[in-house]
């Protein structure tokens, strides 16, 4: 995320005040998929709010990320339906398999992990979305296969270049 990206967003809201904080955080996050340190500082200056407060609000909501997302953004649903169907085990498996906690991005930039409250596809629980594509009835094993295919795709893409 560049300073100019954020400036472009902020220019669209010249008269924004503190009540616009959350929509602004969302709009800025949409540009690059996360909130950089500089982006938070730019927003706090724009709204004349202390950076500690803006950071505090942003960390309150799980929708905000503070590191760039990976090439494959993995969202594990932890809604009620998925929980009953065993999503805790699925999340645990992916945490161990990728060595990431929710909110983190792997060092090679390939995967990022997010635990979400509900993806709205309870009939297909437990659901995992990878870059927005839903995978139904996930188990630790089937998710492992999905992640492997992501890795293979990344290798193919690298070769193609």
């Amino acid at each position: 995320m560049t300073v100019a990206d954020v400036d472009a967003v902020l220019r669209r809201h010249p008269a924004a005040r503190r009540d616009a904080l959350i929509p602004l955080l969302q709009e800025v996050q949409e540009t690059r998929g996360y909130l950089s340190r500089e982006a938070i500082l730019q927003i706090s200056r724009h709204l004349n709010l202390p950076a500690a407060k803006v950071y505090g609000v942003a960390t309150f909501y799980s929708q905000f990320r503070f590191r760039p997302p990976g090439k494959f953004h993995v969202q594990v649903c932890r809604g009620t339906g998925c929980h009953v169907a065993g999503s805790a085990r699925v999340l645990q498996a992916v945490v161990e398999g990728l060595g990431l906690r929710p909110g983190e991005t792997s060092r090679d930039g390939l995967f990022s992990l997010e635990a979400v409250a509900c993806l709205g596809a309870c009939a297909q629980s437990p659901v995992v979305a990878v870059n927005g594509e839903f995978h139904a009835g996930m188990t630790p094993d089937s998710l492992s296969a999905v992640l492997d295919s992501c890795r293979a795709k990344a290798c193919d893409d690298a070769r193609a270049h």
Binding site: P50, K53, T59, S62
Partner: protein
């Protein structure tokens, strides 16, 4: 007025006031951990819950307005049980290292656990693994001991206008921290310590210099000297069971010698010297036409605030060092020469009612050739700790005077311990400089400001000056805005970082009542009323310093030793 019934007795209360305030006025003790009387109630801790007839749920008395005919039970079995449970839950993830905690004996959580008779560990939670933030020059944060009452956050933002910290995260992961969870060192924290004064537990404390000082006292190669800030002598006694406002300057000098300090210097002389230099600088600015208003620079939290938040006012800050640093510079030059000691052998200690002074002493320009002018800064609390550790009983010692060449002081210097005192001290000398005579009545009552903003117009030698005093950085920030907007015609502004001035500083004994703080200020006013030497320019030691070393105020040597410069600071704000 409304009448309510509390514990089956009638109680008169003001219409619409908070129930807790009415209960307190009636002398009823309802515990709280999150209430800051000056601020809007947050209702966070729920310890002040009481039973109100007709209500299904317990009511937090801090956030419940009184209503006519309301029937309240403050200590019903249900209310007491709720409080016990709250404390037990707060203790569930607490480190439980009370015996090793620096707040041992002064902790409100510990006190409540005792008062409520918590004897059993009914809830066991995972202990916090959050790291202590040790990197700040003034304040140490230990998030594991934090109970999330939020008082530090509110005081920092709403009273001091700094907002270096806020709540992060949510639910059981909530914590208090700076932006991006970095060290206070990198934040906009000015080190005032008002957060730790309001903290009910050991989550916030000063960066201690006790070890360094005790180590230096044990080192025969060092000549350890100490200067005492004006507010310390009227505050320290409280830590030894004396009445608030008792002046222990005499016994304290004896106690410090007993501890092994080679010289005991009166920091109020530093304040006298600062008043002289500031008065001369003010007269110079008036003559040259600015920049005005001149802002005082004795309070290091405020200086840092201007550097961070309002660099557009840097030119207005007086170039005078603070009294601590003026005396510090003189100790390692003038005193070293007089006493024929190598300055490298001198270990210079300052006892201050302040945590920001610790950071000030570390500023690179506050020294010479990489050697700091002040080697260690103790808070009033830390000095009390050392005295207790060494078994010194202040009450049993006969008073002794401070040491030459920095042993004499005027009461003007002493006044600097309370908000408004610096303005009073400087204006007394300004009047003398401009007219050659003293102010008819030296007392400037209009400027004696325990809190908030005070303003007075002074007529000196045919000129009319607007003088203001503000304490608390939030108020100072608003005053700067008003000055910028042209709403105020001011020539001189004293700013004290802490509301009420140094007597209420972040290095003072914790848990003191508002009356105790007031008594400290009154003690300083009392000295000024009783003693004969009441102006900085009448202080014999100051006069000798100008004769022997400095020549006159604002001399080249004086500018080198006693004045400094400021710079905009880039921090996360």
């Amino acid at each position: 007025m409304v009448t309510i019934e509390v514990n089956k007795r009638p109680l008169r209360a003001r219409e619409g006031e908070r129930l807790l305030a009415a209960l307190r006025r009636a002398g009823l003790s309802v515990p709280t951990l999150c209430d800051v009387p000056a601020l809007f109630p947050s209702g966070a801790c729920r310890l002040c819950v009481v039973e109100v007839e007709g209500r299904r749920r317990l009511a937090p008395s801090c956030a419940t307005p009184v209503e006519e005919g309301m029937k309240v039970m403050t200590h019903s079995p249900r209310a007491v049980r709720a409080r016990q449970t709250i404390v037990e839950l707060l203790l569930a993830n607490h480190p439980d290292d009370c015996l090793y905690c620096f707040r041992n004996g002064a902790c409100q959580l510990q006190r409540l656990a005792e008062d409520l008779g918590v004897r059993q560990r009914r809830y066991v939670g995972a202990k916090s693994d959050r790291k202590i933030d040790l990197a700040g020059p003034s304040i140490v944060r230990d998030p594991a001991k934090c109970i999330l009452c939020g008082k530090c956050v509110r005081v920092c933002e709403e009273i001091q206008g700094v907002a270096a910290i806020d709540f992060h995260g949510r639910g059981s992961r909530t914590c208090i921290g700076t932006a991006f969870d970095e060290s206070l060192n990198l934040s906009s924290c000015v080190g005032c310590g008002q957060c730790l004064m309001t903290c009910p537990t050991g989550a916030l404390r000063e960066q201690s210099h006790v070890k360094e000082v005790v180590g230096a006292l044990d080192d025969p190669a060092k000549l350890v000297v100490v200067q005492l800030a004006p507010a310390v002598s009227v505050s320290l006694g409280e830590a030894f069971g004396l009445e608030p406002g008792t002046d222990v300057a005499g016994p304290l000098a004896a106690a410090l010698r007993e501890l092994g300090f080679a010289r005991v210097f009166d920091g109020a002389l530093g304040a006298d010297l600062a008043a002289m230099e500031m008065a001369a600088e003010f007269v110079e600015r008036i003559t040259r036409g600015g920049p005005l208003p001149m802002l005082t620079s004795g309070s290091p939290g405020w200086v840092r605030f201007v550097e961070e938040f309002r660099p557009d006012f840097l030119e207005n800050l007086s170039t005078c060092k603070s009294p601590q640093q003026m005396l510090g510079a003189l100790i390692k030059t003038y005193f070293a020469q007089q006493a024929e000691v190598d300055p490298a052998r001198i270990f210079s200690v300052a006892v201050m009612p302040c945590t920001a002074k610790k950071a000030e002493a570390e500023r690179p320009e506050m020294g010479c050739g990489g050697r700091p002018d002040v080697d260690a800064v103790l808070t009033t609390r830390e000095l009390a700790r050392i005295l207790r550790m060494r078994g010194v009983d202040l009450a049993a010692l006969s008073p002794e005077p401070a040491d030459e060449p920095f042993g004499e002081r005027s009461t003007a210097g002493k006044l600097c311990g309370a908000a408004g005192g610096a303005a009073e001290a400087v204006m007394r000398s300004v009047h003398f400089l401009l007219t050659g005579k003293d102010l008819p009545n030296l007392r400037l009552q209009a400027l004696r400001a325990p809190e908030g903003v005070k303003e007075a117009r002074l007529r000196v030698g045919g000129r009319d000056f607007g003088v203001a005093v503000v304490s608390g950085l939030g108020g100072a920030r608003r005053l700067l805005d008003e000055i910028r907007a042209g709403w105020r015609s001011l020539h001189f502004v004293e700013v004290a970082t802490c509301p009420g001035g140094c007597v209420a500083g972040g290095g003072q004994p914790v848990g003191a009542s508002a009356q105790a703080v007031r008594a400290r200020a009154e003690a300083l006013y009392g000295l000024d009323a009783d003693e004969p030497i009441r102006t900085a320019h009448a202080n014999g030691a100051v006069q000798r310093l100008y004769q022997d070393l400095l020549g006159k105020p604002l001399s080249a040597r004086g500018r080198e030793l006693l004045h400094t410069r400021y710079a905009k600071r880039e921090v996360v704000i």
